[in-house]
């Protein structure tokens, strides 16, 4: 079973828009695009295996309590049923370490719950010969419960104040005292609801055991991390687990970890001695793993009459599950966006009966920005200063928290470029001052940021006998463009057309890579491929110069030029050969080199840890610099006051992600983030039935994400400059940045339009009517 290979050339347009497209920084179209559009791309669970059996999950219908009994007899007797798994009928697994690699307790792990802590928890599973048989039999499993009262959400009286997370506390100066004596004071509470990643491709897998070797076809943002978890659960060596994930239909943070449904499927496969496929239903994707935690923040700002901030006091809480811990770092933007001499941020986490929340595009920064970027807008109105001007007056010239220089911070440039394009200068400041017929028009601005997370990856680059280049890495492409930018990196570095590069990803047998999360993968993997390709090129040139059989040998040059797949001398005197001709002249069928971004002298143990945990990720404030991406969003809304409906009619965003490896793909990612931000601002909310502790809008008809009709033309402007403190080739994070700040920009625009400040997302019509 090999990964689907893609020839870059299939998708190259060859028109002027692709001029220079092959190189890093070129606008090469997605090389995986044609395969996806034509259906040729085979996704993980589309593997056809002999003897495949189908598993379907049975979920708890109560939010809190214990399973009293499970009657499987009727289900077992149903046609085609092979096995019904329950907490009592499943092989024993071991608890795996968390994603930091923290050694786990020496305790068994059961992915089916006896103690129910949320509605929708997996309590049983049915495996049958066909999917339809499994679905039908799953409905016949009779589960009875002892039910206990649930804590349904943050507003539940039983929820309490939660657990203080000391590691989240950030303080300098005397924030309370400075606030008390500030001439201008604002204080407000901002809430965000449960939100869901809602990827097009639901979670699922095929698990297949051959002896004690496990192969898992599963969409994954992190093959090596997930392989480690499977290996630990089943107590087999890491090398015995192979993860295959050639394409991913969207993850947004939700596909980075091996989850309990994976343990169920792999257990079933082992128990039956057959490959098992398990795919979640859409409703199950709302409870089978966590979306973004609901959050509450209070932001108080003390300032002088000119709007200069003297103090920020920030308190946040997010929900987590009864037995899991998720901290959504709510002070992450609060502490760095504006210069303030006094600062205090603290955070609690509150346990409720929900699935443990998880990572969703810009965890932490996203809700954090909703708080501070709304609050600074409130301050602007309080002191009567333009919302853009107040941001410039409080511009942080260095990282206020780390007290280090920014590696690069093109935020001022972003404000300037965005304001210019948007026409901000024409804005009339008073709320309700701009109107078009029945529609009130509002213009809002907000900034966003995301840290440059750095980790490690390795890659193999091969120059093959026909002169083509092959790249291998266990990193992944979930639509963000890894296939494409790695082809560009190898093409430029070796000196071949991108057409002649084949990139293979998504197989844990390949050289390893850390998680594709936190917008780190592009920076890491372009670095690794650059290094591997450089050393492959060195070998090629070395051979050409020193091998006595090489036509270049007589030249006695100390370097040669490789360009467009051909080798020649720098001055053009002497032979001019294709790479294939050279390799054949020296009798080689390929050249191979490995490159990585690991510190020198790393041990095998270090490497394992680096690729399978996030324990060794490099802090963004390591050394002398603080490294972040930045952006400024300028957004126009139209509010029909009779109806309370908000429509986003114009977006101009200027963004600093450093050097862009491929502007076309970066722009798409930014736009995707902005679209998701529009959904967050206006539509998205997991609605809980408070009597049952259950999400009732657990499908894509009722959980609203934006449609095309909700999205206006979006203009994005790159204001970044290469940042070599952030990555080998100068890029900073792209994928998560652009969602940060969209919701507050919209809320600020709604205030400008209507004079109503909405501090609870989403901004639905009943809040404005």
């Amino acid at each position: 079973m090999t990964v689907h290979n893609i020839r870059v050339g299939e998708s190259k347009r060859g028109d002027a828009s692709d001029g220079g497209a092959d190189a890093v920084g070129g606008r090469l179209s997605r090389v995986d695009g044609p395969a996806k559009i034509t259906g040729a791309a085979k996704y993980a669970v589309e593997q056809q295996l002999d003897g495949l059996a189908y598993a379907v999950l049975v979920e708890s219908t109560i939010a809190s309590g214990k399973v009293r009994s499970i009657d499987t007899s009727v289900a077992e007797a149903a046609p085609g049923v092979l096995k019904v798994l329950t907490p009592d009928i499943i092989i024993s697994l071991r608890t795996a370490s968390d994603w930091f690699g923290t050694p786990p307790p020496d305790a068994p792990y059961c992915p089916l719950a006896r103690d129910v802590t949320f509605s929708g928890q997996h309590v049983a599973a049915v495996v049958a010969e066909t999917f339809e048989q499994a679905v039908a039999a799953a409905a016949l499993v009779e589960v009875s419960y002892y039910e206990t009262p649930a804590i349904v959400d943050l507003s539940d009286a039983k929820a309490g104040d939660g657990i203080p997370i000391d590691a989240m506390t950030k303080e300098w100066g005397d924030a309370q005292a400075a606030f008390a004596s500030a001439p201008v004071r604002i204080c407000a509470a901002y809430n965000t609801p449960r939100e869901y990643q809602a990827p097009m491709e639901p979670h699922g897998l095929i698990a297949h055991w051959e002896g004690d070797k496990l192969t898992v076809w599963e969409p994954s943002q992190w093959l090596d991390g997930m392989a480690r978890t499977y290996a630990e659960w089943f107590d087999v060596p890491f090398e015995n687990v192979r993860l295959v994930s050639p394409y991913i239909g969207g993850g947004f943070g939700s596909k980075a970890l091996a989850l309990s449904h994976g343990a169920v499927a792999a257990s079933a496969a082992k128990m039956l001695g057959r490959p098992v496929r398990l795919v979640m239903t859409r409703p199950q994707t709302f409870t089978g793993y966590g979306g973004r935690a609901a959050t509450r923040q209070t932001v108080t700002i003390g300032a002088d009459r000119q709007g200069k901030i003297q103090s920020i006091v920030h308190r946040g809480i997010n929900e987590t599950s009864i037995d899991g811990m998720w901290v959504e770092p709510l002070g992450s933007v609060t502490s760095i966006m504006y210069a303030t001499p006094n600062f205090s941020s603290k955070q609690n986490v509150v346990r409720v009966n929900s699935v443990v929340p998880g990572a969703m595009r810009a965890p932490g920064e996203n809700p954090s920005a909703f708080g501070i970027e709304s609050a600074i807008d409130e301050l602007a109105y309080e002191v009567g200063i333009d919302p853009l001007e107040i941001r410039l007056r409080n511009y942080a010239e260095q990282d206020p928290e780390a007290k280090k220089a920014w590696s690069t911070r093109q935020l001022r440039e972003a404000f300037a470029a965005g304001a210019e394009r948007f026409g901000w200068a024409k804005r009339t400041p008073e709320p309700r001052s701009m109107r078009d017929g029945n529609q009130l028009i509002g213009w809002g601005v907000a900034a966003g940021t995301y840290p440059v997370r750095r980790a490690y990856g390795e890659a193999i680059v091969r120059i093959l006998a026909d002169g083509s280049v092959e790249v291998e890495s266990s990193s992944i492409d979930m639509g963000q463009g890894t296939y494409t930018i790695l082809a560009q990196t190898a093409a430029e570095t070796v000196g071949v057309p991108a057409d002649n590069v084949v990139v293979k990803l998504g197989d844990s047998r390949f050289p390893r890579a850390g998680v594709a999360g936190g917008s780190r993968l592009a920076g890491v993997m372009t670095g690794a491929v650059y290094k591997a390709a450089t050393s492959a090129l060195d070998q090629l040139v070395g051979l050409a110069i020193s091998d006595p059989r090489s036509p270049f040998h007589a030249l006695q040059a100390n370097t040669l030029v490789v360009a467009n797949g051909r080798i020649s001398s720098p001055r053009g005197d002497g032979p001019d050969l294709s790479i294939a001709e050279l390799l054949s002249s020296v009798g080689r069928d390929h050249i191979e080199a490995t490159g990585d971004t690991m510190p020198a002298n790393s041990t095998a143990q270090d490497r394992y840890k680096n690729y399978t945990t996030i324990a060794m990720a490099v802090p963004h404030t390591e050394g002398d610099y603080s490294r972040h991406s930045w952006c400024a969003h300028f957004i126009e809304v139209r509010v029909d006051e009779d109806f309370g409906t908000v429509r986003v009619s114009r977006v101009v965003s200027a963004l600093d992600s450093g050097r862009l490896y491929n502007p076309k793909l970066a722009e798409s990612q930014w736009k995707g983030g902005i679209i998701m931000g529009i959904g967050q601002a206006l539509l998205e909310e997991g609605i809980v039935d408070r009597r049952h502790g259950r999400i009732v809008n657990n499908n894509l008809a009722d959980y609203l994400v934006p449609t095309n009709a909700d999205i206006p033309d979006i203009e994005v402007i790159s204001v970044g400059i290469p940042d070599l403190h952030s990555s080998v080739l100068g890029g900073k994070g792209v994928g998560e940045l652009a969602i940060v700040g969209v919701a507050p920009a919209i809320a600020n625009a709604v205030f400008h339009a209507t004079g109503k400040r909405v501090r609870d997302l989403p901004i639905t019509l009943e809040k404005l009517i």
Binding site: A78, V135, D642, N697, T707, A709, D710, L765
Partner: protein, 327 residues
Amino acid sequence: MRDFSYLRAGSVEAARQAAALPGAMLLAGGTTLIDLAKCGVAEPDSLVDITHLKGLDKVEVSERGATIGALAKMGHVADHADIKSRFPAVSEALWQAASAQIRNMATIGGNLMQRTRCPYFRDPSNFPACNKREPGSGCSALGGVTRGHAVLGTSEACIAMYPGDLAAALVAFDAIVHLGERRVPVDDFFLVPGTTPEREHAIEPGEMITAIEIPHSAAARRSTYLKIRDRQSYEFAAASAAVGIEFEADGRTIRDLRVALGGVATKPWRARAVEEALKGKVLGPDAVRAASLLAVEGAVDHGANHYKIELAPRVVARAILKMGETA
């Protein structure tokens, strides 16, 4: 596995006979039925596929009015030139319903028969109590998440909203449902829940919708469908209004007015009180706004759906004023 039989009906008569058997259901575009089967709400023993019946997909506009075959696709009717010009509200209601893909699959007969979006109705394994599904089992929505539920025509047994757009336009213009030979005015075809929420339509076992007839009227010709919703597309109405208007020769005095609401009631809701209050009056913003409040007379909210009581009259007023402007 739940087995069911599948029959492709060769004639209307055969379809009606097959559908009269217990556990049988008609299958048209399937966009409601298959969905409900997947959530375990519809559990047919046999499906009678009517999509191959000949002659039921026609749209004809004659001197008397429009006759739309039960198997005409939503997209086709929405795009029909005579429907657009003679019954704009009907075309607009269809255009704004569901998505392009669904409109290309779904039929007019199936559209009328679509079921409520009440989340409790659609999730039997988690919410066994639902009077509409299981008469006498109770109503899980009462005391639960009610943002999308009805404020008009509700009963203690059921507060589920009828979600269709087309039916509101049909009710406004006195359309008639053809059940073979039997004719039922659309307003009588849909039933309020009362104590029998499981019974939603005046259709008997073995009956089938064969066509919809919409009589011509000046009001239908000058009509619109205004739909307000949380997102701009692919979303049911938070509140909607089908409005048609006819003026006296002076171009200001209202001779005939039709108003029906969608998204707020247990059935497509004709707002006759608004019509009566404005007939004979000169069209003007204040009068229209005041009269529009009558649209929600007797409305009862259940907390989260209170906004519909505010919203619906504003939608009605906007739609009437918009029709007045085009005078």
